[in-house]
């Protein structure tokens, strides 16, 4: 495992190692591991990492929170930690205090819109909302007829939730708000819009994918050094070595793109084209790496990696599922391509070489 950057991430790593061991979770089909894990994370203040202390959170920096998400990806954590962190962060933008318990953000796709009605209630439908069913509260970003954005805290019980599952078997639900009165609603800060939320969510998912790929590389290397075929370890076959070298390349690309984007967002003073490039490039490249890298991890494992008993799917399928959240790579590629074209050919390199 990569060395942790800070004490917050070290705390997260330790909790995951103790309570989110992939083998243990994979054998537990009743989900008994979930409550103790969530309790430990809550006691450590991790779900509200990005919430200032005066809003009920632990006031960690963006950078510290991002490294928690990297660790969560390395363990393919299947509780709404990233989602609650994002929700707390969103609420904090409008100085709304975060309640205890699981939260998620609505909407979770750039294509869905939640509307603020004239009476202050909220309406709209959001698809693919991660862990909506497990969440007690939603952090909602909504806009009125004039396009002004508001941030609201909403009781999940007031919304209609149609459950769905993503590729990794985690909840990815459709949330419908029909004139729901929020618990609290405040104007979003100047310039804050849905793109900002989507890109923050996208960077979170990029870090998680990169973390999952780190683990896929590690368990694939380990397996290749154990498995014997044709009277030698399969790691000694050049074809296998080169496949694993390619997996290392995909893992490296995902790691570099995701951590660079996280660093860009954590240190951004304005939300300009350069930060946009960092965030969407991370989502695009990490999604591509999830496909290519995951395929190699499975190839190295052979049939055993295709079984429900083996832990590989915990990483490979979640990495694939996370591609879809907060805008897929295809969606963001179109947006990035439009931006690049609008800036013009001679402004492409200055954008790429901006930091």
């Amino acid at each position: 495992m990569a060395e942790s950057d800070n004490i917050v991430a070290e705390t997260a790593e330790k909790i995951f190692a103790d309570l989110a061991d992939a083998q243990t979770i994979n054998r537990d089909n009743k989900g008994a591991w979930k409550a103790p894990l969530w309790q430990a994370l809550t006691e450590a203040g991790l779900p509200l990492s990005w919430v200032p202390e005066d809003c009920g959170g632990s006031g960690a920096s963006l950078a510290e929170g991002f490294s928690v998400l990297s660790a969560a990806g390395r363990f393919a954590v299947a509780v709404p930690l990233a989602e609650t962190m994002l929700a707390g962060w969103l609420l904090a933008q409008a100085r709304i205090a975060s309640p205890d318990g699981e939260m998620t953000v609505v909407p979770a796709s750039p294509k869905d819109r939640i509307t603020v009605n004239a009476d202050g209630s909220l309406s709209g439908r959001a698809r693919g909302v991660p862990f909506a069913k497990a969440a007690k509260r939603f952090a909602v970003l909504a806009s009125d007829a004039k396009g002004n954005f508001s941030i609201a805290l909403v009781d999940a019980g007031k919304c209609r939730i149609e459950t769905g599952l993503n590729l990794g078997g985690d909840n990815s639900d459709t949330v419908t708000l029909d004139q729901v009165q929020p618990l609290t609603i405040k104007p979003a800060p100047q310039g804050f819009d849905q793109t900002r939320l989507m890109l923050m969510g996208g960077v979170a998912r990029s870090l998680q994918i990169a973390g999952a790929l780190e683990s896929m590389l590690e368990i694939s290397v380990r397996y290749s050094n154990e498995r014997v075929a044709f009277e030698k370890k399969i790691s000694k076959f050049q074809a296998v070595q080169h496949n694993l070298a390619r997996l290392a390349g995909e893992s490296a690309a995902a790691l570099a793109a995701a951590t660079s984007a996280a660093d860009a967002i954590a240190n951004a003073t304005t939300f300009n084209d350069e930060v946009f490039l960092e965030a969407v490039a991370a989502k695009i490249r990490c999604a591509e790496a999830a496909e290519k890298g995951g395929a190699i991890a499975h190839q190295v494992h052979g049939a055993i990696g295709f079984t429900i008993e083996h832990i590989l799917h915990r990483y490979s399928l979640r990495a694939l599922a996370w591609r879809d959240d907060f805008g897929s790579e295809s969606y963001w590629a179109v947006e990035l391509g439009k931006l690049v074209a609008a800036r013009g050919a001679d402004e492409l390199w200055p954008l790429v070489a901006s930091r």
Partner: protein
Amino acid sequence: MTAALRFDPIRLPSECEQLRKEVRAFLAEEIAAGTFDPHKPNREDTDVPEFSRKVGARGWLGMTWPKKYGGHERSFLERYVVTEEMRVANAPTRRFFVADRQSGPVLLKYAPENIKMDILPRICRGEVCFAIGMSEPNSGSDLFAAKTRATKTDGGYLINGTKIWTSSAHIADYMIAIFRTSPPTKENRRHGLTQFLVKMKQPGIQVNPIGQITGQYEFNEVVFTDHFIPDDHVLGEIDGAWKQATSELAYERSGPERFLETYYVLTELVRAVGKNPDTRSAEGIGRLVAQVHTMRRMSVSVAGMLQAGKEPVVEASIVKDIGTVWEQQLPHRVRDLAAFVEETATNRETLEKQLDFAIKTAPKLTIQGGTTEVLRGIIARGLGLR
């Protein structure tokens, strides 16, 4: 346990931004003066001595070397900025590029003082061109199978044999080459090769040009017949070249030249699609930009880690592996998208000419300076597989 890969998110320090402006202004002046055309990567004569001297005069050669040898004691990140700006502009760097990146650092480490004082300041002034003598007709990737002999004689060595695929040998003033001084041993097949500084344009050296599929003549066969090299031109340990070959590779492998070689076709495609691309073009361009951005951030990260005194050998090999595969595929992906460009696009002809050249260039990118197969072997070793 796998050693974790590291790609620290390096931010270029503020001095790099001022430098970048200076480099761009200089290149714009040179383009305006007709020194080179950034839209024509396929020009026949890439050796422009006057340009080389101007770059030296700006202080952009030997940037990281000690001042006593003509260097400028600046950071690797500053050198990185100069390198990437030159590459993206398709500037004619052939005369100085190898000396600045590779040969100078080898001399700094292994050459005797008198040679360092003689040659390094001239590299910094952009006056000398270097070639690298590694491959032979029967040894390419298998470097340690080299057979060209260096036989001890009074005051030096006599060289006999042939180097091949030697870029720039026809214009080079010097070559850094490995020659066989002893047979390999049973225990160590890499033993017996020694690194030498060769003065080109001397008796006993014949350079024969070799045409490439691009129509260019950049590489050569170099035949040595009783060519004399004095003792003080030995670089490092006799028979021990294998110990010296690896440490510089991180610099050589991870630079911007490892993913920007065909970049110009992407710029030209963006020009051709105009301000309002259709969905397919936008999606294709978006992905390519995301990919090149990621490559660059990886490459900058390795440069930053090197500057910080780390040795990211595996990371550097990964940058070259995926960077060269990417720049090799780029012209084909751009061609896919160019199929939908309007016939009326003003730069259509430029784009097509560039694509022809880039597609012809592409096969060499995963061969030169260490093949994909060799790199993946190094990465596999780093992963603990061999």
